[in-house]
Every structure is written in C-alpha cells, then in structure tokens.
C-alpha cells in the first residue's frame, strides 16, 4: 500500500509551451515528479526554470501543454493545488512596514493554517528574527523568510525556485536538512537550481532544461556516473598520458608535470597509476553546470538512446 502511494505521480507536465509575446519562456517541457522524491530542475539562467514553475502555480498562463498536480488541472484547479503546495519564488519582495512575524502569520492565514508552531521552529533553525521589520532585512534574511513561508503550512508539495540563493554555507546546510526531513515526512519537493553540486547532494532525480527545452531527466547517481569527475594532478616529474588510457577515462590532457582527465569509471585503477609517482598536488572535482552542458553535448550522450531513459517519464 505504501509502495503504491510512493509511485503516485504528484506533478506531471506534458508538452508545456509558454511565450511572452515573441519571446520564448519555455519551448517544450515534459516531466513527472513522484510522491516523496526531491526533484532537481537544473538549467542555466534564462533556460525556463522559473517560467515552468510559475505556470505550474497558475501565476502564468500557458500557450500549450497540460499540467496536472495532484491529478488536478494547474489552471482550472489552481486554488485547490495551492492549498496543498508551498512555494518559494525565485525573486520576491516582502510587504514593507510589517514585522516578519506579522507577514508570515498573514500568509499562514491565507493558507488556512491555524498553527504557527512550524513557522517558529523553522525561523529558529534558520536564525531568523521574527521581530524584525521586513524592509530591514538583508537578501539572505529575506530568503530565509521565503524558505520559512514555503514550509510552514506543512503542505504536501513544496516548489522551490533557487532555494539557497543568497544564503551562507551554514544556512544552506540547514536548508538541505529541512528538505531531507520534509522528504522523510513523505512530502514531494520540486526545486530549481543552477548549482550542480547542490542538486547532486540532495536530489533523487534531476531534469536538465536548456533554452526552454527539457533535455533529459535522470537519476542523480546515473547522471553522476555518466558525467564522471575531473581529476587534476600535478606530479613531481613529467607524466606519460598513455598510462591513463583506460575504459571510462577521457579528455586526457598533459602539460609538463600537470595532468587532467575525466573519469566516469575505473577510478580505482586511475588512482593506483597516479600513486605510482610522486605527487605535488591533486584535485578531484565535479563538473560545473556549464562544463556539464559542454560535456553532455560534446560527448553526444543525448544521442544515445539509453541516456534519455526518462525524458517525460520515469528514470
């Protein structure tokens, strides 16, 4: 019974198209988000992440396509959907001249939520002073208010547009914890980000959007395996690149004592070869979003049928 519920599709977007006059917002997005998962919506600025989210919530109309949230039509049943959805906008302002608590209570009231316990608890965890006036808050503190209001009414679906934007690393970690806890409570989280590391660390699946078109939906660990990591090593002496020509190793470049390569598998063998020689410095890093896109397209992964396993559907 629980298993069955877990497979329930909470958010389903089909052939979504949204234009602002002549300008493209979203060209074609198809995806499904299952109950209880944290879904990362990844893409560079202007790719169409925010547009997709705002259409889902009925803030924008769509030109074509179909969006179902909790099985309800996103446009016709927008109020019913919003009754069960918490939302953190990517760019928002706070009503001025109010105490943070007054504003949050107002939003809580509009969400028909009687208890402010969660609000206080979240504010406490994020070190947000509820007595401060809204216009006195820094960008980071405004973002905290946004996070608190998205989670405080205890809704089933939480949609977050760039949740950690403007937050310091400690608070970011606390937000990740809050997300994980919400997931443990059975809530579904749909979050956009342009920070790959963030998506990698907390999301179960990720959809990558580029120029308004959803390119791929993938399990994060599959994506990680496919993308691999960049290994950069500075040796004491010059190194022979041929030694590293192994399956799952690509982009091998040497420059004097320096070596750089991309590893998707056989990392153990690579490290052993590296360890044979004296090392001055070593760095293993994940791809930035830009690098990921470059790699993604240059490697032609999108042309491999098995890499597109979950476009518009399951992974």
């Amino acid at each position: 019974m629980i298993r069955k519920k877990k497979d329930e599709i909470i958010l389903k977007i089909k052939n979504l198209k949204k234009y602002y006059g002549k300008f493209r917002g979203v060209e074609n997005v198809n995806l499904e988000v299952k109950r209880g998962e944290i879904f990362g919506f990844l893409g560079p600025n202007g790719a169409g992440k925010t547009t997709t989210i705002r259409v889902c919530l009925g803030l924008l109309s769509k030109n074509a396509g179909d969006i179902k949230i909790f099985g309800l039509d996103s446009h016709r049943d927008s109020e019913k959907i919003r009754a069960k959805t918490g939302y953190l906008p990517g760019d928002f302002g706070l009503i001025p001249d109010l105490k943070v608590k007054t504003l949050l209570n107002y939003l809580l009231g509009l969400s028909n939520c009687k208890s402010d316990k969660k609000m206080k608890d979240l504010a406490n965890r994020l070190d947000l002073d509820l007595k401060r006036k809204t216009q006195e808050l820094s960008k980071g503190n405004r973002q905290k208010v946004g996070i608190v209001q998205a989670f405080m009414a205890d809704q089933d679906l939480i949609i977050l547009d760039e949740p950690t934007s403007g937050l310091d690393p400690l608070v970011q970690q606390e937000v990740y914890k809050i997300l994980k806890e919400a997931q443990a409570e059975g809530k579904t989280i749909f979050m956009s980000s342009h920070v790959l590391a963030e998506v990698e660390s907390i999301c179960d699946r990720v959809g990558i959007i580029r120029e308004g078109i959803l390119q791929v939906v993938e399990d994060v660990h599959v994506l990680r395996e496919k993308m691999g990591k960049i290994l950069e090593v500075e040796f004491f002496l010059p190194v022979d690149a041929k030694k590293f020509k192994l399956p799952g190793v690509s982009n091998i470049k040497t420059e004097g004592n320096k070596l750089s390569l991309t590893v998707t598998e056989n990392i153990d063998d690579v490290i052993k070869i590296v360890a044979d020689q004296k090392i001055i410095n070593m760095n293993l890093k994940t791809f930035s979003l830009e690098e990921l896109f470059l790699k993604y397209y240059s490697d032609g992964l999108e042309k491999q049928p098995d890499s597109k396993v979950s476009v518009g559907g399951d992974a």
Partner: protein
C-alpha cells in the same frame, strides 16, 4: 481566510489614511470657521463708502446727488456707474471737475458708483472715454496706462442698502446657476458658501486620494513583487481583489465620516447649525461615497491593466479630471447638456441635499451598480493576465 486581505489593507495603509484624515479634518472643519468673517465682508459697507455722500430723491425723474470730500485743487474725478458691484461692464462713466455730480434717477435696479481722482495729463479725454467701454481695446491702445496710474480711489456707494456681493452676482449668472441645478445661491448663506468652497472641489481632494490608494494598493504588489507570495496561497484573484476593495470602501466611509464630523462640528461651533443641520451635512458628504467607489474601481481596473503605479495613476487621475471637466462644460454649454448624464458627478447632487433636503437614493445606488460593473471588468482582466515576475 476571509478577512485576512481586508485587514492587511488597513495595516499597510494606515499611515496614509491618518495623514489624509488630518487634511480632511483641517479643510472640512476649517472651512466653516472662515464663513462668519466672509459673510461680514460681503454684507459690510462698501470700500470707502464713508467718503461719499449720496442723496436719492423720493421720485423718479429727479437727480441723484453724489458728492465727496474734495482732493487737491484743480483735480478731476472719474465716476464709474454700473448695475453690478464688480463695475464691469459699466453703464456709464462721468468725468467731473468738481467734487459733486448730479445723475438722473431713471432706473429701477440698484446701481453702484465708484469715485476716483483722475490725472488726465496728456490724454485726450474724449478718446479715453470711447475706450473705457471696451477694456480690451483700452489695454491694447496706444496711450499709456502710466498716464492713469496716479489716480486715487476715493470710495464706492450704491443706490440701495440691499446690495448683493460680487460673488453672488457671479452666482446669478445663468452659466453658474446651471451648476447648482438652476438654484439661486448666495455665498452669504452657509449652504452656498459650503457648496462652493468645499463640495465643488471635494472630487479633487478625495477623488485623487482614493484614485491613488486604489491604484497603489494593487501595483505595490506587482512592483514590490509580493504577488508570488500571496498567490502561492489558495486565495483566488477575485477574492483578493474584492477583499481589498471592501477595505477601501470602509476606509472611504471612515474618511467621509471624518469630513462630515469635522464640518458639522465646525458649523456647530460658529453657531450656524440651525441653518445647516449636522444631519444634512452628513447626508451631503456620505452621498459622495459611491462616486468615490467608482473612482476606486477605475483605479483597480487601470492597476490590473497596466500593473504599474505610474501608468495606473495617470489613467485614474485622468478619469477624475475628465469627469470634472466634462461635468462643468456640459453644465455650462446648453448644447452639451446630455453629456452631464455620463458623468459621475451628476449623480452626487449635494446641492439637492443642502438646499432641498432631498437625498437621491436612486443615484446613490446607481453609482454602486456602475462600481460593480467596473469591478467585474477588473476581475476579468486580473484573472486573464499573467502576474509579472
């Protein structure tokens, strides 16, 4: 959920309401304070009347004798006669070399006389007189006004003690009468004074304020980017707009109560409440509520169409101006009288309340119906349009 937006409107706009209430308190309460002094001025002696002596014969056909204290020797005098206190246009001009004149008494109306010394050096007096009756030509004419500059005003008098004020003469003009529904009004009466000095420009004072708060009430949300937070909650756009409007109606009603209370208190304080009762004042002022509600509905409509304070405010202010100008022009120009019925001001007949004690309930309700129609249009547009990011 019900009432949250309603109460938030008070919480966010109380400073503006307080400041505007204070302005209303000063104007509505202060205006009656001027009235007694104003009335005294209108009903008092004419300027310099004590310098003149007028003898009016008992029978017509004889001469009126007008004399005054002689000025420097050899001085000439100019006596301007008119049947209007404003002396324009004059019915006659007399040049005298002595300090008295005789004027034939062959008219029925009240006539006014103003006497000044006249330095006619270098002026052809015949030519001068030919231009006195046409002020435009006088000013455009070759001879210099400087030649007339060292005249000294001696005084004014009239053939009757029952004289009208210059204001009342203007109000007697048919054009002005059309603005008061054909009523003969007088600035010397409290109704006339309040009608002209307060009610005639109330649409500007209150209309522009409510145009401003109605437009900004919505555009603040668009421009301040609060809308995404609000509409991530289950509230509908229709509900949000209607609750805000309900709050603004309550605010408008409160402001009108302040205005009515201040004015009634002011009239009571100067001791004229027996002439204009507090009840009448309340009815006349509260009667403007639906007119303001139409202005606020226009404010909402322009706010949701343009989603910008500047553009929305421009349209709402333009509406108030056009309404006022159209109503005034339609009242003054007979051929355009029909256009008056298309203005909201026509349906707030405060003169009818002030003079006849008649409150036009159908007009009052009618404007609320118009408000409803405009609001429905605003809701339709608000629902249709995207909420800007």
């Amino acid at each position: 959920m019900l009432g949250k937006v309603f109460f938030m409107e008070f919480l966010t706009s109380w400073k503006g309401i307080l400041i505007f209430s204070f302005i209303v308190l000063l104007t509505a309460g202060g205006m009656p304070q001027i009235y007694p002094t104003f009335k005294e001025t209108l009903e008092g002696d004419l300027e310099g009347e004590e310098n003149l002596n007028i003898e009016i014969p008992a029978e017509k056909g004889e001469n009126i004798k007008l004399s005054w204290t002689p000025q420097e020797s050899g001085m000439s005098y100019i006596i301007v006669e008119s049947n209007l206190l404003s002396l324009f246009p004059p019915t006659g001009v007399i040049i005298a070399n002595n300090s008295n004149v005789s004027i034939p008494y062959d008219f029925n109306e009240t006539r006014y006389y103003a006497v000044s010394t006249l330095n006619i050096t270098g002026i052809d007096i015949t030519e001068y007189l030919s231009y006195v009756f046409n002020i435009t030509e006088l000013y455009n004419h070759k001879f210099s006004i400087k030649n007339l500059s060292n005249t000294t005003f001696i005084g004014m008098t009239s053939t009757s003690k029952d004289k009208k004020s210059a204001f009342d003469e203007i109000l007697d003009n048919p054009a002005y009468k059309s603005l008061t529904g054909g009523r003969v009004t007088s600035m010397a009466e409290i109704e006339g004074f309040i009608s002209l000095e307060f009610f005639s420009w109330w649409i500007f004072l209150a209309g522009l304020f409510f145009a401003y708060i109605s437009v900004s009430s919505l555009t603040d949300g668009f421009e301040g980017k609060h809308m995404d937070l609000i509409f991530s909650t289950p509230i509908s756009r229709q509900h949000y707009l209607l609750e805000k409007f309900a709050a603004l109606i309550v605010i408008a009603f409160f402001i009108l109560l302040v205005a009515a209370g201040a004015m009634a208190g002011g009239i009571e304080q100067i001791g004229y409440s027996h002439e204009l009762s507090s009840y009448t004042v309340f009815l006349a002022i509260i009667g403007s509520l639906p007119m303001l509600s139409v202005i606020m509905a226009i404010g909402f409509l322009s706010a949701v169409v343009f989603r910008s304070t500047r553009a929305g405010m421009g349209i709402a202010f333009l509406f108030v101006m056009v309404e006022f100008i159209l109503f005034t022009v339609a009242s003054l120009v007979g051929s355009l009288e029909g256009a008056k019925y298309a203005t909201i001001m026509h349906y707030w007949d405060y003169n009818s309340v002030l003079y006849d004690g008649l409150f036009k309930t159908a007009d009052f309700i009618g404007l609320f119906v118009v408000t409803g129609v405009i609001l429905m249009l605003a809701i339709y547009v608000f629902k249709k349009k995207d909420i800007p990011a």
